[in-house]
Each structure stands twice: as structure tokens, then as C-alpha cells.
């Protein structure tokens, strides 16, 4: 390749046997009778530009070995019979990402203050360009995520996919379910209208009915014996900082285990025994 002269030596593709200048068995070219054609600068630069994206990727890959990891992640084998029900987990992940993205942009206009929260939500809905749309995506997306996570859980349960060796992934999934419900609970207060205020009052009081520790849990959630000045900002911090980080971390472990352990075949597909055993069984 003529470009070789431009590429730093360590990144240069090694010549195939029988090719290249230093190839064994080939007579050295006579530079006097057949001088190599020298490409114009423009041509060289153009050729180089075409290769540039590949070069950059190769540079990154050589230092991270990411391609091997990504190949293993994306081209892993799945069992026969894998069907649309297996997409519910990815759908839940997509719903979470949608919530994270819309939430970040809502936070640009929202004010977590008892006296300004309602007005800031009204401002988002009525004045901000596409504000009602983004707020609506976040609001309806939360219900969607709860529905999807339950469907995903049902699929796992009815397909028996929680069994050995995937019990730990089930446990992590249950924690993710609880965290998702906590997200739905803490997010409900943020619009700070009558409905969200009273729903939160009732919700906190339900939490408080747990014996012994319940009353203290209520005080923790409200930051005091009554709904107070910092209750809203407390819910806001839990909703947008604490739990999203936990969910993202647990999703990473959840996915790692999915890739590591593989997925299960649907229960209606019986495992095919090797030929001799199959005969023995009959």
C-alpha cells in the first residue's frame, strides 16, 4: 500500500508473505529502470482522509481492546425460540434512558421550592418551547417504565428464567423494581399541585405505618414531623441524584450478568438430548 509511508511504523499493516519490498524470494525492484510512481500531494491527502475514521478507531481500539469486548457483547449467541417477549428488558432500559434524558432537561426549568415549584411547572407547560411535550414524555414515560418493568418481571417468572444460575440477577431485578417504585413515588410530589401534595401525604403516612421504624422513616422522608420547608428539595434530591445513580449502577451489573450467563430458551422448547440418550429414554 502506498499509504504505508504516511502511517507510523507500529500501526502499519504487516506485508503479506511474498509482497512488499522486503519480501523474501522477490528480486529487488530496479529503481533506475522502473522508478515508482510518485502520487501527487492532493491524492495522498485524499486517500489519507478516507482512511482517517478507521485510523482513529484503530488507534482507540489498540489502546482499549474495545472491539473484542463489543463483539462479545453484541454478537453473543441466543437460544433457539428467543422471541419478542425477550425484548421487554431492553424496553425497560429504553424507558429508563428516556426518563433520564427528559429529566435532565426538565431540571433546567424546574425550581424545587414550595413557593415556586408549581409556578415553574406551569411555566414549563405553558411557555417553554416543547415544554409540555418533554414534561408529558417524562410523566407518561414513568408509567410506561413501571408497566414494562412488571411485564419484564412476569416474563422472567413465567419462563422460569429466575432459576439457577440466574437467581442473583432476579434479586438485583427486584431491587431495581423497588428503586423504580421509589422514583415514581418521589417524582409524584414534584409538580406540587393539590393531587401530588395529598398523594404524597398519604404515601408518607402509609410508609409510617410500619411498626417501630415506620415513624422514623416518615420523619426522614419529610425532614421533620410535618411536611416542611425542605421536604420538597429532599424528594427532588432523592429523585434526581440518589436513585438514578443506584439504578444505573445496578442496571450495569444486571446486564453484565445477562451477557455472562446468557438467556434461557422459552419453556415450551424441550432441551434436545444427545442422540444415544434420546433413544434410551424411549
Amino acid at each position: 500500500m502506498k499509504l504505508d509511508s504516511l502511517i507510523p511504523a507500529p500501526l502499519r499493516k504487516p506485508a503479506k508473505p511474498g509482497e512488499g519490498n522486503g519480501a523474501k524470494g522477490a528480486a529487488p525492484a530496479d529503481l533506475k529502470t522502473a522508478p515508482p510512481e510518485r502520487p501527487s500531494d492532493a491524492k495522498r491527502i485524499a486517500e489519507r482522509a478516507v482512511e482517517a475514521p478507521v485510523d482513529v478507531l484503530a488507534w482507540v481500539d489498540q489502546r482499549t481492546a474495545a472491539s473484542g469486548f463489543l463483539t462479545g457483547l453484541l454478537y453473543r449467541k441466543v437460544p433457539k425460540g428467543t422471541n419478542w417477549f425477550y425484548t421487554l428488558g431492553s424496553a425497560t432500559l429504553f424507558a429508563f434512558i428516556a426518563q433520564a434524558v427528559t429529566g435532565v432537561f426538565l431540571a433546567m426549568y424546574y425550581t424545587p421550592s414550595t413557593t415556586q415549584a408549581y409556578a415553574s411547572i406551569a411555566h414549563i407547560n405553558n411557555d417553554v418551547f416543547l415544554g409540555q411535550f418533554v414534561h408529558g414524555m417524562h410523566k407518561w414515560g414513568s408509567s410506561l417504565m413501571v408497566i414494562l418493568i412488571f411485564l419484564h418481571m412476569g416474563r422472567t417468572f413465567f419462563f422460569g428464567a429466575y432459576k439457577y444460575p440466574r437467581e442473583l440477577n432476579w434479586v438485583i431485578g427486584v431491587v431495581l423494581l423497588i428503586l423504580t417504585m421509589t422514583m415514581a413515588f418521589t417524582g409524584y410530589l414534584l409538580p406540587f399541585d393539590q393531587r401530588s401534595f395529598w398523594a404524597t401525604v398519604v404515601g408518607v403516612n402509609i410508609n409510617g405505618t410500619a411498626p417501630v421504624l415506620g415513624p422514623y422513616l416518615s420523619d426522614f422522608l419529610r425532614a421533620g414531623p410535618e411536611f416542611g420547608a425542605t421536604t420538597l428539595s429532599r424528594f427532588y434530591a432523592i429523585h434526581m441524584l440518589l436513585i438514578p445513580v443506584l439504578i444505573a449502577a445496578l442496571i450495569t451489573i444486571h446486564l453484565y450478568l445477562v451477557v455472562k450467563l446468557g438467556t434461557t430458551a422459552p419453556p415450551w422448547l424441550k432441551a434436545k438430548l444427545p442422540e444415544p440418550l434420546e433413544k434410551e429414554r424411549v
Binding site: T115, T209, V212, S218, G224, P225
Partner: protein, 226 residues
């Protein structure tokens, strides 16, 4: 460990005596901990201290409100003559300051009634917070009852539960008279016999063993003595 064992077994298998291992640097007779182990413990200890220095203040910061009791607050709600024995007057006052309407609450106030066997000359302020889950109850004049719109809790004239899911009578507020004005103060809860106890959240039983299963919180005020 396994290396040592392997070496030993190999040595035994080949019938050769094991070669004496050189002493690690800094070794002395009778040492209780190798230098490597001591450094491990030290590094882990320092790491643990650094972690605790971050986590403990943060956790304390988050849970501090559980142990904090705010300032006692009294608010005048009207002259003594405004209140009668046989019906309630609805008053709205501020329970939590500086959070606007969200900090306001409603009480139904009357004079104490001789007919009901109450100590005369006092004022009774019944909170409108349902003892089930905290919805606002309403005093229905015609029935003489408090009725909750959420789940159908019903309380009699004194605030005792007579129907629905509530677990105890309605809360009350302390009252006093200053300069001819009735004032309401901190909230307290009552048992089914209307004995005052420290304020509980809705949904929590009061009296008897429930005083231990739903312990009083440090953030609430002591009940009035009576």
C-alpha cells in the same frame, strides 16, 4: 499458601529435603505480624477512615431532622367569645412557617362541654387531619360528625372514631387564652379514651402496646398534662 503446600508435596514426592526459605526482610524472632501484613492493615485502616469521613457526615446530615424539634409555635385564632360549646368553628392557621399554603392546617375549635364531661373553661381544637392516612376531614354540622372524603372514615362530635378505617381519634392542638384571644399550639394525638399522648402520624395506633410499636418521635412536642 498453596504454593508452599505444592512445594512441600513436590519435595516429599521427589524425596529431597525442602530447601530453607530465606527470611523476609525485617523479620525478627517472635514477630506477631509480618511487615507486609502490617502495611496491609494500615492501608485498609486509612482507607476505611477516609471512607467514614465522607459517609458518616453525609448520613448524619440526611437523618438529622429525625432528632430535631422545631420551635414551639402559638397562633391567635380569635377572641374567646367567638367559640361556643355545641358546635365547631373552623380556623386555618400556620403549622409550618415559610412554605406558603403548604404549611397551613385547619382545626375545628369549640369551648369544652360540661355535658360531655370535659373540664370547663377550656378550648378544644380538633385537627382536620384524618387519623387513617392524613386526608382532610370535614365537620358536617347536620350529622354532628367529622367525615373523611378519601376512604370514608367517620368520627363523632369529640373526634372519636365511629366508622371506617381510622385507627384512633382525630388529633388535637394545645390551646390557651392570652389577652382574651384563643391561641392554638403544638399538635398532640389521643388514645381511644381521649388521653393525650405525643403526636403520631396518621395510620399509627395509640395507647397500650401501640405506644411501643409506634414509639413517640423526638421531633414531636410532649403532650399537655391532664
Amino acid at each position: 499458601m498453596s504454593d508452599d503446600a505444592d512445594k512441600q508435596s513436590r519435595a516429599e514426592a521427589s524425596g529431597r529435603p525442602e530447601r530453607a526459605k530465606p527470611e523476609p526482610p525485617g523479620y525478627f524472632e517472635g514477630e506477631s505480624m509480618t511487615r507486609r501484613r502490617a502495611l496491609e492493615v494500615a492501608v485498609q485502616g486509612v482507607g476505611g477512615l477516609a471512607g467514614a469521613a465522607i459517609v458518616l457526615p453525609a448520613v448524619g446530615f440526611a437523618v438529622a431532622p429525625i432528632f430535631h424539634r422545631g420551635k414551639e409555635r402559638w397562633e391567635a385564632i380569635g377572641p374567646v367569645g367567638d367559640f361556643v360549646e355545641d358546635t365547631y368553628r373552623q380556623v386555618v392557621f400556620t403549622e409550618t412557617e415559610s412554605i406558603g399554603d403548604a404549611g397551613k392546617t385547619t382545626a375545628y375549635v369549640r369551648r369544652s362541654s360540661k355535658q360531655l364531661g370535659e373540664e370547663p373553661g377550656k378550648f378544644v381544637a380538633v385537627s382536620n387531619r384524618c387519623a387513617h392516612l392524613g386526608c382532610p376531614v370535614r365537620f358536617v354540622e347536620a350529622a354532628g360528625n367529622f367525615i373523611c372524603p378519601c376512604h370514608g372514615g367517620v368520627y363523632d362530635f369529640q373526634g372519636k372514631r365511629i366508622g371506617g378505617p381510622p385507627v384512633r381519634p382525630l388529633d388535637q392542638f394545645q390551646t390557651r387564652v392570652r389577652k382574651g384571644q384563643v391561641e392554638v399550639g403544638p399538635r398532640y394525638s389521643v388514645t381511644s379514651q381521649l388521653e393525650p399522648v405525643r403526636a403520631r402520624d396518621p395510620g399509627e395506633f395509640t395507647g397500650g402496646i401501640w405506644e411501643y410499636l409506634y414509639p413517640p418521635r423526638p421531633s414531636t412536642f410532649p403532650p399537655p398534662s391532664s
